[in-house]
Amino acid sequence: MSQPATATGKLLTPFNLITAAILAVGGVITVLRFFVSGLAGTTNLTDTYPWGLWIGFDVMSGVALAAGGFVISSAVYLFGMKEYKPLVRPAILTGFLGYSLVVVGLLYDLGRWYRLPYPFVVKPGPTSMLFEVGLCVALYLTTLAIEFSPAALEWLGWKRLRQLVGSLTIALTILGLILSTMHQSSLGALFLITPTKLHPLWYSSHLPVHFFISAVAGGLGMIIIESALSHRVFHDQVEISGERFSQLTVGLAKAAAVTLAVYLAVKVIGIAMDDKWHWLASGYGGWYLVEMLGFVALPCFLFVIGYRERRLGAIRVAAVLTVLGIVLNRLNVAIFAFNWQLPAAERYFPSWMELWVTVSIVTAGVWIFRFIVKRMPILHEHPEWRGQH
């Protein structure tokens, strides 16, 4: 591909205007939440539902969907699948931005957000799964920042630093996989202590394993979606051929098919282990089957067909279903299947402000992603660093 386009152009594009509007309202809500009316004035959180959308979606789903970074980097650098290298930098960027925005979402949710460092500097509570989540996410965010930095350093032209960071790739990838295994599974482990509150079909002593496997699937799905969108929207930045890109997408479909099949098998074992079959006959059982059949089994099937027949359309639909399924699973665990015995009047639904903050955070992420992709060697190699990772 020819030279990457530089970041010029009009400031008042429709995209910029819409995002600015979204973020402006988000800014007002931010002021309300932090300075005026607190959580009570901006959220629908209650004593029975202390965790809502900001935890269920911004934190839990966000982390699961940012998993593509460790999946692809492990595949390329540890398992020798070098043909997927063009996908590494965009996935690392998605991961880095994703995790950063998870922290932002968390700051909105914490009652005393200014005390975020307390578990590390005041008094750690190592019996808590949340301590482990916090520690691993903090370390992993640092790892992702360093893994992302070569692109920035190439753009800045800081050669020696770039050289140094490049030599750390394998170590960082191993560290990233360790940290990701731990915090992805620990987010599931958070709920191990709530067997009386989480519906039996979603509760399992294997919850950490379920969360980890589904995170891998979610990461693969996000890579397929993000790369498809990037190759359309940032066409001028892309270096690899359309044919090569299609090949890579098809290759990812195989991995996704196997991951989803394994996830389904593990879930079936979870039900069999505690003889929970009879729960499937209830209302919640029906909802569980919707999640499992419509958003796990169906995309698995579509990935299989898409891979065999080399059909990109089926693969992309499957990716969307997979991502939606992961989000649905996290929201079910945190909100919908949580406190399942309580009557409808006491159930929680997010306020419009909670939704708007979430949308604002995602919008900011998209905006920053676009900003970086248009300037830094993410979708193409930097001419001075060709052939090096």
Binding site: F34, G38, L110, T127, I178
Partner: protein, 351 residues
């Protein structure tokens, strides 16, 4: 052979003890609570729903007056839960009907022996004291509300409307009063003796006594003795505990044990993954090197063959050239000899 109930329970107890000893010697720890800790006994057969305990609790803790005044029965039309203004609530779980009186139960933090809130707090903002109450340290709290999520008794509330300094709020078992030798406000205020304050071990004895004395009025079970590891608040009565909003059939395993069980995997991941993944990396590098070596060798072999072929061709051509040259030389010699013969013949004739 039939086993008497006592024999069975005794056997179960002995088995549990044996298992506990084995587990303890294997390094698995349990938190049994402090031995001389205080507790409270709630006798639902005696509670009449007067809510004087609620009033006393609010007075002691400086909370607003009850929203629905005492004596107004409409408060029992809905089930209430604790909130930032109500550290304790009394609910009616069964209306009076015919000869049977209504059944009420007071609900508040149970001050568990192995509290979930303490286990899940990532800044250790909860502390189980030797006296029994579980204390909260707001100066450390970050406001993540995992404790509120985890509490199986829905006992914790949060000050969502506080913008800068929200806290978790709940019954404190009147810790300051207990330290001074007083009773908790609710125990002091109860006119029916439905709340008894004392050492937990003494309360268990008292409870068993009441059950033994009136077996038709009491279910033979003290709720909170073993459930989820046991609680400081013990409940007895004639109504099945599941109907009183309590977790009937709860296992004796403390929830923190279940909740933190996964933590033991963390060190395994940290120690196993590096070797495992470095191994994968080395393996994939080796495969790559081998395939490159194979390629090199294949290329070298092909080159060698090509060279050999070229050399053979060259040699064949050289041979051919040599042969032709020899042939040409032989022919030239033959011609010369013939010429010489002819000349010799001519000169012979002349002489």
């Amino acid at each position: 052979m039939t086993i008497s109930r006592r024999g069975f329970l005794g056997g179960l107890a002995a088995g549990t003890l044996a298992a506990g000893t084995a587990a303890a010697s294997a390094g698995v720890k349990k938190l049994p609570g402090w031995p001389d800790s205080y507790g409270l006994l709630h006798d639902t057969n005696l509670c009449v729903g007067c809510r004087r305990c609620e009033e006393a609790c609010k007075r002691v803790n400086g909370l607003p007056e009850p929203a629905v005044p005492l004596g107004d029965e409409s408060v029992f039309d809905k089930m209430r839960r604790t909130s930032k203004d109500d550290y304790t609530v009394v609910n009616r779980y069964r209306r009076a009907d015919g000869g049977r009186p209504a059944v009420y139960r007071k609900h508040q933090c149970m001050h568990c022996q192995d509290p979930c809130c303490a286990s899940v707090c990532f800044v250790q903002a909860f502390e189980k004291t030797p006296q029994g109450p579980v204390l909260y340290h707001p100066e450390r709290c970050v406001g993540c509300r995992y404790c509120v999520m985890a509490c199986p008794y829905y006992a914790l509330a949060y000050e969502y409307e506080q913008v800068w300094t929200p806290r978790v709020v709940r019954c404190t078992m009147c810790y300051p009063r207990i330290k001074k030798g007083q009773q908790p406000g609710c125990a002091e205020a109860c006119p029916m003796g439905a709340i008894t304050f004392g050492r937990r071990s003494d309360l268990l004895k008292l409870a068993r006594q009441r059950i033994r004395k009136q077996p038709d009025r009491y279910i033979d079970h003290i709720y909170g003795e073993h459930e989820f590891g046991g609680t400081s608040w013990l409940t007895i009565g004639g109504t099945p505990f599941g109907e009183l909003g309590l977790h009937e059939g709860a296992v004796p395993t403390p929830l923190p044990e279940i909740g933190s069980s996964y933590l033991s995997v963390v060190p395994l991941v940290i120690t196993i993954y590096p070797g495992l993944l470095a191994g994968f990396y080395a393996f994939s590098r080796r495969r790559e090197q081998l395939s490159r070596k194979e390629t090199r060798e294949a290329v070298a072999a092909a080159l060698e063959r090509a060279r050999q072929e070229a050399e053979n061709k060259l040699q064949a051509a050289a041979e051919k050239a040599k042969k032709e040259k020899e042939k040409a030389v032989a022919q030239a010699v033959k011609k010369a000899v013939e010429e010489a013969k002819k000349q010799a013949g001519q000169t012979g004739q002349e002489a």
